[in-house]
């Protein structure tokens, strides 16, 4: 067994673990511990990969740090192939990390169908593991669609009052989008088969399919639609605030921290290499969508009265900046954008976690019921301020590094866009400050005292604060990881380096 087969373990271990958690469900306490230990083991396993000193090497599925390639559906030429590069490694780690967090924050909040809940959490983890590594398009599509199932139920069973509406809206939007992707995928598959006689779903091989600009444009558009819903890009975003407000905290964490990432990841991993020409032509569109998203979300966030909705809109704004960086496509902007993918996963999830804690105590997420929290919950407030500052890009914390790289990179080739994006980043400050202001400061509007964070909650928050500080102060290793991934990608798909001016 080589290190490569580790990738299989990464996918199947959580899937198997999910059944174990389901089995332990008759004993909630046992089930929680089982899930915690399993998710910690998974995280340890992934952390191990950082120390293996992996070097990119070429194989039949392209150049990866680690890769496996097994026959799967031989009849149609689909293979079970996974590949790991720096970007996926970091996203895997994020997935494992947030799964641990999700288990921990649900420790007391979830008391209904505990076994099933943890089953879905770990099942989702397994799907995402596969999704972030799949190098076969059908395999990718499989994971892409299956991950909807656990998310749908996490929303629909453990959500708040309007959970069914939100869950249906969520599935309808994403499923609708992905259908277009499936069609495009099949068209590509057939076209490639016709031309070469070899029917395959391999990303590496499909990317070499010669396509007429028109066909390429249509196929790209279908992918774009699927991913734009998931990211989400304005105006396809309205499912997200609803989904977040209705989701249980763990659901929001997975949604913001992981599911939104899949859209961006797929965009970067599949849409660009498969359709470099169309991607290049779409640059003005990407820039516009990114900018509109940033401004629109920031502005709307300002008017929110529900704190969770505000965080949800902030999420849309952050994703807008990342998409904008895709339209810039140089080393700095892309590194920054990939880093933001990770940063957003940590910071926004932390904010959702904290909003959840608040909700548990206040029974409300409305700003009218808050104010003056600092007096009663100083530790909570200090953490909340910390993550809010991280989210608004305070230098020395994680988001700043990513944002400054994107903005500097953008400024190198498109100064005007960079300036506009920068205004968008500034707007973040206004609504984040307002959020902090209306919740932590001012006069207290509560009569009964509120309990400050418990040791378990402090542990969660402290653990989440570590990556925020680490990336803020010493992003070097992570940036090197991205840089080598990007170099490999550009080596593999020269069109991307050439046509997009990387």
């Amino acid at each position: 067994m080589t290190a490569d087969s580790l990738l299989l373990v990464l996918v199947f271990f959580p899937l198997a673990g999910s059944l174990l958690a389901l089995g332990a469900g008759y004993q909630p306490r046992l089930c929680r511990w089982v899930s915690l230990i399993l998710s910690l083991m998974q995280m340890a396993l992934i952390s191990l990969l950082f120390f293996l000193d992996l070097q990119p090497h070429s194989g039949p599925t392209g150049t990866w740090l680690l890769a496996v390639d097994y026959p799967w559906l031989e009849g149609i030429g689909a293979r079970f192939s996974l590949g790991l590069d720096g970007l996926s490694l970091l996203l895997l780690w994020l997935t494992a990390f947030l799964t641990v967090i999700s288990v921990l924050i649900s420790w007391t909040a979830i008391n209904l169908k505990v076994g099933l809940f943890h089953f879905f959490l770990l099942f989702l983890e397994g799907c995402l593991m596969g999704l972030f590594m799949a190098t076969d398009l059908l395999l990718f599509y499989l994971f892409w669609e299956i991950q909807l199932i656990p998310m749908f139920f996490l929303l629909g069973i453990w959500g708040h009052a309007r959970r069914i509406y939100a869950a249906v809206k969520f599935v309808l939007f994403t499923f609708g989008g992905s259908l277009f992707m499936l069609i495009a995928l099949l068209v590509l598959y057939v076209l490639h088969g016709h031309q070469t006689g070899e029917y395959t779903f391999s990303l590496y091989q499909l990317s070499q399919t010669p396509l007429s600009p028109t066909v390429e444009g249509w196929l790209y558009a279908a992918f774009l639609l699927a991913f734009a819903v998931k990211i989400p890009l304005v105006p396809l975003h309205t499912w997200l605030p609803d989904a977040h407000t209705e989701a249980p905290t763990a659901g929001s964490v997975d949604l913001a921290g992981l599911l939104l990432k899949t859209g961006f990841y797929a965009f970067f991993r599949f849409a660009f290499p498969l359709f470099p020409g169309a991607a290049q032509a779409s640059i003005p569109l990407l820039l516009a969508l990114g900018l509109v998203g940033m401004f629109y979300a920031a502005w709307i966030a300002l008017a929110q009265t529900d704190i969770k909705r505000l965080v949800a809109y902030s999420s849309i704004g952050h994703m807008g900046l990342m998409v904008l960086a895709l339209g810039i496509w140089n080393l700095m902007a892309l590194s920054g954008s990939l880093l933001q993918l990770f940063n957003h996963g940590i910071s926004t999830s932390a904010l959702f976690v904290m909003v959840g804690m608040l909700d548990e105590r206040l029974g409300s997420r409305n700003f009218q019921d808050m104010g003056g929290l600092w007096q009663q919950m100083p530790v909570f407030s200090a953490f909340f301020l910390f993550f809010a500052l991280s989210s608004m890009g305070l230098p020395g914390l994680n988001n700043f590094v990513g944002e400054i790289l994107i903005l500097l990179g953008a400024f190198q080739i498109r100064p005007l866009i960079a300036v506009l994006a920068f205004v968008g980043v500034l707007l973040t400050v206004i609504y984040i400050l307002r959020m902090v202001q209306d919740s932590l400061f001012g006069e207290s509007r509560r009569v009964q005292p509120l309990r400050d964070v418990t040791p378990r909650e402090v542990l969660i928050l402290a653990v989440m604060a570590l990556p925020v500080l680490y990336i803020g102060l010493h992003p070097g290793p992570v940036l090197r990881l991205f840089e080598s991934s990007l170099q490999v990608m550009w080596g593999q798909f020269p069109m991307l380096a050439r046509s997009l001016g990387g």
């Binding site: 305070l394 500097l408 100064p415 932590l440 400061f441 840089e483």
Partner: protein, 636 residues
Amino acid sequence: MMMDYVWLIPLFPFVGFLINGLLGKNLPKNVVGTIGSVAVGLSFLVTVCIFAQVLKLPPEARHVEKVVFTWIASGPLQVQAAFLIDPLSLIMLLIVSGVSTLIHIYSVSYMHDDDGFYRFFTYLNLFVAMMLILVSANNFLLMFVGWEGVGLCSYLLIGYYYEKQSASDAGKKAFVVNRIGDFGFLLGMFLIFWTFGSLNFKEVFALASKYPVGSGVITVITLFLFIGATGKSAQIPLYTWLPDAMEGPTPVSALIHAATMVTAGVYMVARCSALYSLAPISLTVVAIIGALTAIFAATIGMAQFDIKRVLAYSTVSQLGYMFLACGVGAYISGIFHLMTHAFFKALLFLGSGSVMHGLSGELDMRKMGGLKKEMPITYWTFLLATLAIAGIFPFAGFFSKDEILFHSLVDGKAIYWGIATAAAFITAFYMFRAVFMTFHGESRVDHHVAHHVHESPPLMTVPLMILAGLSVVGGFVGMPLIEGAHVFRNFLSPAITPVAHHAAAHPTAAFEIFMMVFSMAVAGLGIYTAYKMYILFPDLPTAICDKFRTIYDLVYHKYYVDEIYDTVVVEPIKEGSNILWNVVDAKGVDGVVNGSAGIIAYLSAHLRKLETGFVQNYAFAILLGVVVITGYLIGR
């Protein structure tokens, strides 16, 4: 070499921040205060040691960079966490750590009865750490870390009494206005990186020196950077946050909003003298904004009754002087005034704090008067500082302000000098108005408060006396007239790039002396006017106000600038946000979605028949479906 340990300077306060922040809640107050003060004091000690070492170096070797680690590296962007030791950063480090130490000690006593004592010292230590990073960074990005960091601490400390709505609003205002300034700063930085491919001061300045005077890109860069300076250093048009910032505790006003943070803009312009000296247009802008702010804020200061607000407008005005100096190319005079101002303005604020302490928190000068007897130390130190700010020989402010007036005439234009001189008159007037209203005349103190008016304890008065000493003698490092006696200039000049066309006119000593006498006379006239109005004829001010009602109202209401900003900027943004959400998002985007949701509702009503109500069944149904499909595909 002590210099290798330069990173200790910001580290000490940072450690203090961590200890107090994490454990402070459970520590006794005097331990928290001691940790905070000692941490900053140690920074001061290290700075002094390094300063002594640098003095031993020949002037041209006084530029040392110490790299701690590589911070951000991506493609062409290589930014290090590194410190720069040169005369300019050393002067700033000395001022910041020195004044901070005194103010920390003062605060131990001043804040003693406050519940949030540990929170106060936590923020204050963090502030000092950030400020020290700001002035010792060797590149723009690290400087920006400090720049934002001090902004954050300023925000937290202005809103320190967060349960007070006005305080927390003032904090927010400060943060947002500062961010607008930062917009300029960062754009300037982007342009620098775009032009020179580096953010390191030394590299950028070396590359810039190859550009011609008046180069377009450098002009734009310096103008953007200056926007940042107007935010941080409260200049027109972004000064409005500083007077509101007085909502914070008084030591904060002294430290952050008078002595250190607000001077960051001046420091930045002086640090970038190599760029500014190549951009005559930018220099003119700097000079004009500085001069206008100096007079504009001074006039507002005349009509305020809140003692801290008087001092706040005075700070805005004095910062204007510093920018005027930089604008005419006299960067060293600007930094010189920055230093003396740090001494006397910190002292004035701490003095006003001492008055508040004695009067149970009273700020309105109309409810003071005659405090000279009860609070002698506060009175005398306050008076010395007032003499210094008014520019009376031989107090510190005389030397620095006189230099600025001199340079604004010789290197600038007569109009700058005229404005600055008028502002000097007004400054002398309103500062003595404050002294007279607070300490002289009949007591107007509220009778509830009157019987326990008292002088402050030694922990507060000793820092006052030290600062008073500095306000008296601090100016002598910048002796005019005598060749080579201006040790401040001699020390600082290697770090400053002068404007090229200079050294044309060299006025005679007689002219210089005449200028000094003249500016003294102007200040004296201001003092006399205040004396006449507030001591000799106390009814005169009301009579004058009545006579010039409209003008007085305009000034009293601070020219309605806040109201204008509110109507023109703040309200439309809020309105727009509501419209966007309630109309566009809810009716537009969601309208379409709800349309589709209607269809879903219709469909689901029919699909309901398939619903069993057990979610597990769904899960397994879907899983089963997946398995069946996969199996079918494999087996095909």
